[in-house]
Symmetry: C2
Subunit: 164 residues, 2 copies
């Protein structure tokens, strides 16, 4: 493992060491799996990545290690309303970003928006609110699915009235 270790796994190890927490094979393997992917992983995806490896890693350990990764701030937890969580490491170029989520294929694209920061400060002013973090998600159809001819169902048959 250490021979092919992703450099960011070292950051996680350092985090653990600084807190006197054991650096176990499982934790390294899980961190490796998360940091090797550039996507937004579900626990199931992480589990199946790991199943290829030598050791058998239980789901509980994955959840417990993800907690640590989130606490270390190296990984961010997302809930795109699929009924389960997804995890994304924060070591890419874009420190803070929003998400485009395709309703057809489920792909997630990241984008930056300075506008949202402006909204945050406006709202702070208008409502006396102290923002800590935000989440902007736009759901729709990604470029590829549009090219493939997919269309958004209009949901026409469901709304009998206009907002009165």
């Amino acid at each position: 493992m250490s021979s092919t270790a992703h450099p960011f796994v070292r950051l996680f190890s350092r985090y653990l060491r600084e807190r006197g927490l054991p650096i176990t094979q499982q934790r390294e393997a899980i961190a490796q799996a998360v940091f090797s992917s550039s996507g937004h992983l579900s626990v199931e995806e992480i589990e199946s990545t790991l199943r290829g490896g030598s050791e058998r890693i239980g789901k509980a350990t994955i959840y417990r290690t993800l907690d640590l990764l989130v606490k270390s701030k190296l990984v961010e937890e997302h809930d795109f309303g699929e009924g389960f969580k997804r995890y994304e490491h924060r070591l890419s170029r874009q420190p803070v970003h929003e998400h485009l989520i395709c309703l057809e294929c489920g792909s997630v694209t990241e984008f930056r928006s300075e506008e949202v920061e402006k909204v945050e400060s406006r709202v702070a002013r208008e409502y006396g609110f102290e923002p800590s973090r935000h989440r902007l998600e736009i759901y729709g159809l990604c470029k590829d699915c549009r090219k493939a001819g997919v269309e958004l169902s209009t949901g026409g048959l469901s709304c009998p009235i206009e907002t009165v």
Copy 2:
């Protein structure tokens, strides 16, 4: 029930009638409970509101009726990451709005943002994405909690590194 029926309950009844679906006491009671509140209700809150009434209404019926209300577009489903869903009727003044969520007391404040619509069209242009709906949530401290002297925990003890 019909004597004190909220006018919007009628809209729901109309929706059901147009589809040939039975208008039952339970459905009316649940709709009444949802439309009488101006907040973002959990199923549990709806259930306890209903418990005061005469009939005994099962949880399953509440879930099934909320499905109908959501399909009718009279009610919107939200997930603020609490582990359960919340439901808000869409018959207020603000047709499309965003949410400020207080991390201390859980209160939800609505606000309008034309900026987000601009972001949507920009993103459509830049990424070839066709937006259908979005969600902007800002988490932080509401005015009241700030006044009460609450402060956001800085999470200082958790992040050993800067985003490299």
